[in-house]
């Protein structure tokens, strides 16, 4: 029993597990919207875009969260604006803006003489290095995003399914789209701490994609997605400790494994379905 609980004897591991729990639940819940609205690319895009803000914050000695939040929110609003006003498809708008913002971050960093070890951790995750302040940020932002999703629950579902009829009925589909992009951006900032820029997209997509294999109802899909997300982050963190491996990579590999298990279950069921 002692050896099972061994990782929990360290403060930094306790903090890491709290962050893993919140990030897993939050990302995979938001992932339900990402998968149903076919926004997989946006998770990757916004995570990369945050790098511009992280770089500026780092070089000016400003707060990491403020920099990442500003860059991600500005980019998500610009993506929405370019898409709505510029006759540019959403994936193209994301592609243009996220590469631009990421390049801006790299450009600024490359001109700085301050070589960076810290910034590596933003690219590849630093869940073992989170401070008590980081834990508070993750929990606080997580609760805020949950509140917004709760308040916009029905408009989000209606506009995800049938935005045109929802709009005719008086639901402000444009506002709901912007609100979703902003809370998605906040979710990504939270997730950056845990698994890093490169692996955020996986947590926003894979658990929800796995859940979609097993259910045809929205609420069960979101709950299953959360379950898979938390299992991946907490289980992955634990496994990475035992295997002496990268925590971010282990988390994503576990999520990927879960996806293929659900795919196999779904494929095995299919011949018996009425479809």
């Amino acid at each position: 029993m002692d050896s099972v609980l061994a990782p929990f004897q360290y403060d930094f591991m306790q903090r890491a597990f709290v962050v893993a729990l919140f990030v897993g639940a939050l990302c995979s819940a938001m992932g339900t919207y990402v998968v149903l609205r076919r926004l997989s690319f946006i998770g990757d895009g916004l995570a990369h875009a945050s790098f511009a803000g992280i770089a500026i914050a780092y070089l000016r000695g400003a707060n990491f969260y403020a920099g990442a939040a500003a860059a991600t929110i500005i980019t998500s609003l610009l993506i929405g604006f370019v898409h709505r006003r510029g006759r540019v498809s959403l994936d193209t708008a994301i592609g243009v803006l996220f590469t631009g913002a990421f390049a801006l971050g790299v450009f600024l960093m490359s001109r700085s003489p301050r070589a960076t070890v810290d910034l590596q951790s933003f690219l590849f995750g630093s869940i073992l290095g989170v401070s008590p302040f980081d834990v508070a940020m993750v929990v606080g932002l997580g609760l805020f995003v949950a509140l917004v999703v709760g308040a916009l629950w029905r408009p989000l579902l209606y506009t995800s399914f049938d935005p045109i009829v929802a709009e005719a009925a008086g639901i402000r589909a444009g506002f709901v789209d912007y609100a979703l992009l902003v809370i998605l951006a906040l979710t990504i900032i939270v997730a950056l701490q845990a698994v890093g820029i490169v692996l955020v997209a996986a947590l926003l997509v894979t658990p929800a994609a796995a859940a979609a294999q097993l259910t045809k109802r929205f609420v069960p899909m979101m709950l299953l997605s959360c379950l898979f997300g938390v299992f991946s982050t907490v289980g992955g963190l634990y496994a990475s400790y035992e295997l002496h491996a990268s925590s971010g990579a282990t988390i994503v590999l576990l999520a990927t494994l879960l996806f293929f298990v659900t795919l196999a279950i779904s494929a095995a069921r299919r011949p018996r379905r009425a479809l």
Partner: protein, 260 residues
């Protein structure tokens, strides 16, 4: 039509469209459409493919902005109406049929516009959904996933959602195209019942054989209104037949590309 638009008189019309022009890029889909629809009236809109019928409905729904002219629903621009006022059933539902919702979930969405955040469904909301399911004979299909429905059942689901909304104006874009006779009869009875209760209905159709059963008034549209009156008079005037002939001979190439 008199030009003295007294405020009190405005209230008597559910929909007022004045000098409506709508432009998509270089194509002017509507070129000066005028009509007014009183409450408790079913107005049919007929015209060839690409004549602007669907555009007219979308503009009344507030989904398309006029390039010129005005649209008033209950005396106000459509975008400024209280949520839940307009029930709209598009011609082709371009939804993801794998989306994780059942028939009951979709019909329940009709209640969403009127519900405050965090507020659970009231007894009235549940009754409205149950009545809409009943009215379209969907009771036994309520817990089916939407991918497991026939075309007619899908169409009835979307009409039921609009009915569950308890709208003050119902817009139906070719609801009878491609559905079975049973569904068509059910829709006809439903629409006539709602109109008898005072609901204004605006509906496009290709089916002229039963126009006098469906509608109190019929307009023929080909970017402009070519005829307007009770269905039998309009059909006997030959305005629609002339358009059909015109379409057949010359074709509406740009317009046809729009619809396919």
């Amino acid at each position: 039509m008199t030009t003295t638009a007294a405020p009190a008189q405005n209230q008597t019309y559910a929909v007022e469209v004045h000098d409506l022009h709508v432009r998509y890029d270089r194509v002017e889909a509507l070129q000066g459409v005028d009509f007014a629809l009183p409450r408790g009236t079913a107005l049919g809109i007929v015209g060839p493919n690409g004549s602007g019928k669907s555009t007219l409905l979308k503009t009344v729904a507030g989904l398309v902005q006029p390039s010129q002219g005005t649209v008033r629903v209950q005396g106000r621009p459509p975008r400024e109406l209280p949520a839940g006022t307009i029930g709209y059933v598009p011609q082709i539902e371009d939804v993801d049929w794998q989306f994780p919702v059942t028939v009951r979930d979709v019909v329940g969405m009709g209640r969403y516009p009127r519900l405050a955040p965090f507020r659970p469904f009231s007894a009235h909301d549940r009754r409205a959904v149950a009545r809409a399911l009943d009215a379209l004979d969907l009771g036994s299909l309520a817990d089916r996933h939407i991918s497991e429905l026939s075309g007619g059942q899908q169409q009835r689901t979307f009409v039921a959602r609009a009915i569950a909304q308890e709208p003050l104006l119902l817009l139906l874009d070719e609801p009878t195209t491609g559905v079975d006779a049973t569904t068509e009869d059910a829709l006809l009875r439903l629409v006539r019942g709602l109109v008898a209760d005072g609901l204004p209905v605006l509906m496009t159709t290709h089916d002229l054989d039963r126009a006098n059963e469906w509608f109190d008034r019929l307009i023929v549209v080909d970017r402009k209104i070519l005829a307007d009156g009770v269905p039998d008079d309009v059909l006997q005037s030959g305005a629609y037949a002339a358009i059909r002939e015109h379409t057949h001979v010359h074709g509406h190439h740009r317009a046809d590309q729009h619809t396919h």
